[in-house]
Symmetry: C2
Subunit: 509 residues, 2 copies
């Protein structure tokens, strides 16, 4: 009989091959968003679909199931340090999940979403929901089929069908728990948003829509990303309709952004955000690449990193103490005569707005809650895809008091649904809460972060994150990871405390 | 028993999947040359090697062999039009070839050449052959192993080992035949080169090294590529250390170039060249994609298209009658006061030079002959990789009367060997001869090409090429294809006639 060690090696080897092939899918996905010529969309969909099928088959071969079962009951080899158990836990989770999905469905979803994303780009450009509607209908039908195949929430018919999708992005999360913590967060946010709306002290945001030449924006954003520690030896920055970060594997992590020459924050904070994701990817243990625990713990934890660097670092007073003179030099016409305090206030302007990725820290989570509601209704079948624009606009009117005038600034703004990513959005708000809780702990652990940022020193925070979060990969489920680091289960309170401490003085409340 | 039609469909389906996966390899290869961050080289090599192994396995499954054998002896279905036979011929050729190569060797070659190409970029930049030497040694050893596994020239031990490699690029070509036609060509070229060297009439080439801003070069080159018919809806143009064209599949064909702001011809004619390849790729029958005959007939035929658009069209008087005023507008400082005749003479300057891709039409083929000699010696084991720089420089001294001062302008200039492409170079000179012979026929077939070019009308030539060459794909072996179109077997004479007719008046001979 094969030794436990031999079985384990065989499991890891098979897994590595599948993940390596999966990383080729990522590469094609990146190319689709950045450089694919329009005429190549159908061929790209064929490539993606073929690869998805092969990867799915590799991760659902009966031999893999045998290996996992054998290892679960085997004596652990001496000196085994918990890594084997963590790899087994993740392998079991993925294997059980994937074996419930027919390869046909996986291929079909891949093909349809690959084509739909190209279509979404056009539909968004033309602000034409009708163009995109048939694709959304196909995708929602396929995702409902996926949720059903996965057996609903806990895999045996308990819990909402939506939970089966959510679990793919945030292992172990349940929509009822998410709804509960979102309700607590909303209860604290709404009065704060209202108070800020009533404040008489308001920043001059017009300085942010002056002329910021694209080339200078790109250089400045790259310099800032490099300063916080993103390695351009092992990564790049390109343009795409929707900003993202894609970790291809060791030594290759790609960020994208989009530039508006009359809106400074979009690209700059966008790049800091993606670079935050990138630091996580570049901080993973390269030796663990391809093993079940070799990737990020969850999308919520991933988002905690991007939001931390974007907001807790990038929109702090201390950050701009270091960077503002550079900004003034690079954009002397726009900022030459603007005092730092005025700039700081402007990039922290809080007001209801249409575009999620450009929303301020306070209202951002309301954007997420809207999407979370609508997604659940789509998957439960209570909302028809054709009714999404009306439902979207109604939610914005209710929650934020503003009504999108066109779908490009409404339900067509995000790439997620066109990519089949239903169940993804809540991880953004979870990420904000994780970020606040982790940052609170980091403050205690690594000394005076503000003093460090003001000197342009981001090494202590990055090192702490690498040691405590990045290099562990998926060894712990997200909730457990945060509890392990902070000593507390996830709560909305650190985020609320952060927002009050920051925005009350800014708005003279 | 399955019908012939069913077996044929099964063969084509399997083939399509393998080619589709192979197109993913192309995509990764393109990315490696254009956007891959340096740190990602090892991971990319792992991806390429994994894919190469899967594709190789797919194209060597015993079932494929059974299908081919069954179809070879089956009654052809009524109405079968020769396409089935052509597909079978190509499938047999590839299958027999690939089954001789162990998957291990294919994976190893892919991994080594992927890493070696990254290394070559650095070595070339630093003009440091010693950096590249260990990689060249590995590659030559692996290619010798490949040639041996393929059983030498004709697969059963007859002919030179080199022929087995040559056949991959130019199906059916033999090095003895190539050597013979090269000798005839050389015999005609050497006196012409000598006569031109002795001519007193010389163009002023200094106009070509004035300042040509990169952005304007890129725009002009793209405009010219679009004018000859390259579709940017179905393709793109990017930068890479070594220019190339890669057809990914229907609707996606990618060109690359490199810019030197003080050398106009490099990028401009380089793009026309790659766009010539691109027209071939875009002219293939999309319905045939993935079938054995769905690709270009050979690299020699491919090169005939690139060289025809680069030289027979792009460096013609007629072409510049149409384009010169645009050039003067775009580069008014450099060309504003230069008469068209002087410009035409300058871009057709003939003189011995170091860099093949920038060589003139007359001396170009001598660059190829040098590489052809050295490659054969490397594969036969008569030349050690360590001795390549000395042998290279000696050949240049003998053939062209000039000696490279550094390896970056000598044996490190081309990407081919780092990519494992030994046996590839002769297809360039074959391509020049094919081009001349095809162009001669096109002249007779589609009327006054010069008058058309002078009006900026490239449709008649492109349509003729599409009908006679592009859309046929690999239905005929290259030699047969040319004979079918021109009524003559390949000869060096049309090329020599073209060169004399063009350059004797230019140099007042």
């Amino acid at each position: 009989m094969a030794s436990t060690q031999a079985l384990y090696e065989e499991l890891l080897d098979s897994w590595r091959k599948a993940v390596l092939l999966g990383s080729v899918q990522n590469q094609l996905g990146w190319d689709e968003q950045t450089y694919l010529p329009p005429g190549g969309a159908a061929h790209r969909a064929d490539q993606m679909s073929l690869l998805a099928g092969i990867v799915h088959q590799q991760l659902t071969t009966p031999r893999l199931g045998e290996l996992i079962s054998a290892l679960e009951t085997a004596d652990k080899p001496p000196g085994s340090n918990g890594l084997l158990d963590a790899n087994l836990r993740e392998a079991r989770r993925r294997y059980d999940r994937l074996t419930k999905l027919p390869t046909r469905l996986v291929e079909e979803l891949t093909r349809v979403t690959s084509l739909a994303q190209q279509n979404w780009v056009e539909a968004r450009k033309k602000s034409n929901f009708e163009m995109f509607r048939p694709w959304l209908e196909k995708i929602v039908a396929l995702k409902r089929e996926e949720a059903a195949a996965l057996g609903g929430g806990d895999g045996v018919g308990n819990g909402a069908p939506y939970d089966a999708l959510l679990d793919d992005y945030e292992p172990g999360a349940k929509s009822t728990d998410v709804a509960k913590i979102f309700a607590s967060l909303r209860a604290a946010l709404v009065p704060l948003v209202r108070a800020i709306a009533g404040a008489t002290k308001r920043p001059d945001v017009s300085i942010l829509t002056r002329y910021y030449p694209k080339a200078a924006q790109a250089e400045f954003a790259k310099a800032a990303a490099a300063a916080i520690g993103f390695s351009f030896q092992d990564g790049r920055l390109d343009e795409s309709p929707h900003p993202f970060c894609s970790g291809m594997g060791p030594g290759d992590c790609r960020l994208t952004t989009r530039y508006d020459e009359h809106h400074f924050p979009g690209a700059f904070f966008g790049v800091l955000h993606e670079a935050g994701h990138g630091l996580y990817e570049q901080g993973l243990d390269p030796k663990a690449f391809g093993t079940p625990v070799g990737e990020a713990a969850s999308l919520g934890i991933h988002e905690s990193q991007s939001r931390m660097w974007e907001n807790f670092v990038g929109r702090s007073q201390a950050f701009w103490k270091h960077f503002y003179s550079q900004a003034q030099t690079r954009f002397s016409e726009a900022l030459g005569s603007v005092p730092r305090e005025a700039f700081y206030a402007a990039v922290n302007d809080v007001h209801p707005s249409f575009i999620r990725v450009e929303a301020d820290e306070v209202t951002y989570n309301l954007h997420i809650m809207i999407r979370f509601e609508l997604e659940q209704q789509l998957i439960e079948g209570q909302l028809k895809p054709a009714d999404v624009p009306a439902a979207w606009n109604e939610q914005y009117t209710q929650s934020l008091g503003i009504t999108p005038a066109k779908d490009a600034e409404g339900c067509l703004q995000d790439i997620h649904w066109s990519g089949g990513m239903l169940g993804y959005f809540p991880t953004y708000a979870l990420g904000n809460m994780y970020a606040a809780q982790l940052f609170q702990t980091a403050r205690k652990a690594v000394g005076d972060l503000d003093a460090q940022f003001a000197k342009g020193d981001f090494v202590p925070l990055r090192t702490w994150l690498k040691d405590n979060v990045h290099q562990l990969g998926r060894q712990f489920p997200p909730g457990k990871l945060v509890e392990r680091i902070t000593g507390q289960p996830l709560s909305h309170e650190p985020l609320v405390a952060h927002l009050k401490a920051k925005f009350e003085p800014l708005y003279g409340l």
